[in-house]
């Protein structure tokens, strides 16, 4: 009698645990696709496409981007590759550290560059779709190789993030200006490129 009752209780408990596990994994895997306030959505709400916008400095009051470094001036630029490749650049300043990172629509950082990789005083990259990369490669001149750093974006939309460390108290404005001067602009593939 008692054993039967125990067996039944264990059976019900097992059912609850199985349903709980199914719920847990379903919800977990669904969150990235249904999250409406992901980083891209928050960035896109601040910045229209192809326009560089400085992110508010991280303070206890600005609660849009968790784990943003208060010692870093940041700016973002949303891109859309539907009309062609996008060129992004940022000039180097006096900051001890500056970087560009490239974020897909799905929140993946698919590439990052630091000021160590700067060439002629600036960081620069050409963001392309896989198809655009193919057509650019087809147009490449073998005797005159391109100097472009071509980065394939896994999604058509995404954003570029510029980070510049603010040094002492004085040059926080310099760093903010450097980050805000980052550019991202369309560079359609034309026949003239041949």
């Amino acid at each position: 009698m008692k054993a039967a009752w125990l067996a039944r209780a264990a059976y019900y408990l097992a059912l609850v645990v199985v349903i709980a596990a199914l719920t847990h994994f379903t919800v977990l895997l669904m969150i990235p696709t249904v999250a409406e306030r992901d980083a891209f959505a928050r960035v896109a709400a601040l910045a229209p496409p192809f326009k560089t916008v400085a992110l508010p400095a991280a303070t206890p009051k600005s609660r849009d981007f968790p784990y943003a470094d208060p010692a870093v001036a940041a700016a973002v630029c949303v891109y859309d590759l539907a009309a062609g490749p996008v060129r992004s650049r940022m000039a180097l300043g006096r900051a001890s550290f500056a970087s560009l990172s490239f974020h897909s629509r799905r929140g993946v950082v698919f590439y990052a560059l630091t000021d160590r990789a700067a060439n002629r005083g600036r960081m620069e990259a050409l963001i392309v779709t896989p198809e655009q990369l193919r057509s650019l490669v087809a147009r490449d001149d073998e005797d005159n190789p391109t100097e472009d750093l071509r980065i394939v974006s896994p999604t058509t939309q995404g954003f570029v993030m510029a980070r510049v460390l603010t040094g002492g108290a004085g040059d926080a404005d310099d760093a903010a200006a450097q980050a805000a001067a980052m550019s991202c602009g369309l560079e359609p593939i034309t026949e003239a490129d041949k």
Binding site: L28, A39, G168
Partner: protein, 191 residues
């Protein structure tokens, strides 16, 4: 009737437990992260192949993660002895940080935002430290002003520390050999 009721109850209990477990897993200290002393290394936050817990947390919170080639964020909610960080205590951070070009140390709340403080000093930079002749340093994390390198905290809730290494020599994959450089976080006194 009782069978239907039982099935319904079991389904509801399972759903509730599953949702609760998901919420708990996402707000806890992170399941699959690498550790360095008390520090959790958030190296994969922005990676395409990050574990589903990290992906879900980053997507839900709207964090803009650092790229692997850019920097690393280390976070801890505990001191080196495993006690939760309490703003009523004084902590000493040092004497070294993992090798990197530049680092910043910030006190954050449970959601990752800086702690309110009267001085409006939310982060300490490696470039503004007072150091010993041998390059070692001590940063004091406390609510009350402290001589030397001071990072202010406030409030009554447990807090967390975020250490960001820019251009680190340490990568997520090579953590094993770097244990020795784990920055210590020692509780000096409380109250």
């Amino acid at each position: 009737m009782t069978t239907v009721l039982k099935a319904l109850l079991i389904a509801l209990a399972g759903l509730a437990l599953g949702l609760w477990a998901t919420r708990a897993a996402l707000s806890s200290a992170g399941i699959a992260a690498d550790r360095l002393g008390p520090w959790r290394i958030e190296a994969r936050a922005g990676a395409a192949d990050a574990d589903p817990y990290t992906r879900a947390r980053v997507e839900r919170d709207g964090e803009i993660p650092l790229g692997l080639g850019e920097g690393l964020r280390l976070t801890t909610r505990e001191d080196s002895d495993g006690h939760a960080l309490n703003p009523a205590c004084v902590y000493r951070f040092g004497p070294q940080a993992p090798p990197s070009r530049f680092w910043t140390l910030e006190a954050v709340d449970r959601e990752g935002f800086p702690l309110e403080n009267a001085a409006e000093r939310y982060a300490l930079r490696s470039s503004e430290l007072l150091r010993q002749p041998d390059g070692g340093f001590a940063v004091f994390v406390s609510a009350r002003a402290h001589a030397g390198n001071w990072l202010p905290v406030s409030g009554t809730q447990p807090f967390a520390l975020a250490l960001r290494l820019y251009d680190p020599a340490l990568s997520g994959a090579s953590v094993g050999g770097e244990r020795a450089s784990a920055p210590k976080l020692v509780r000096e006194r409380c109250g």
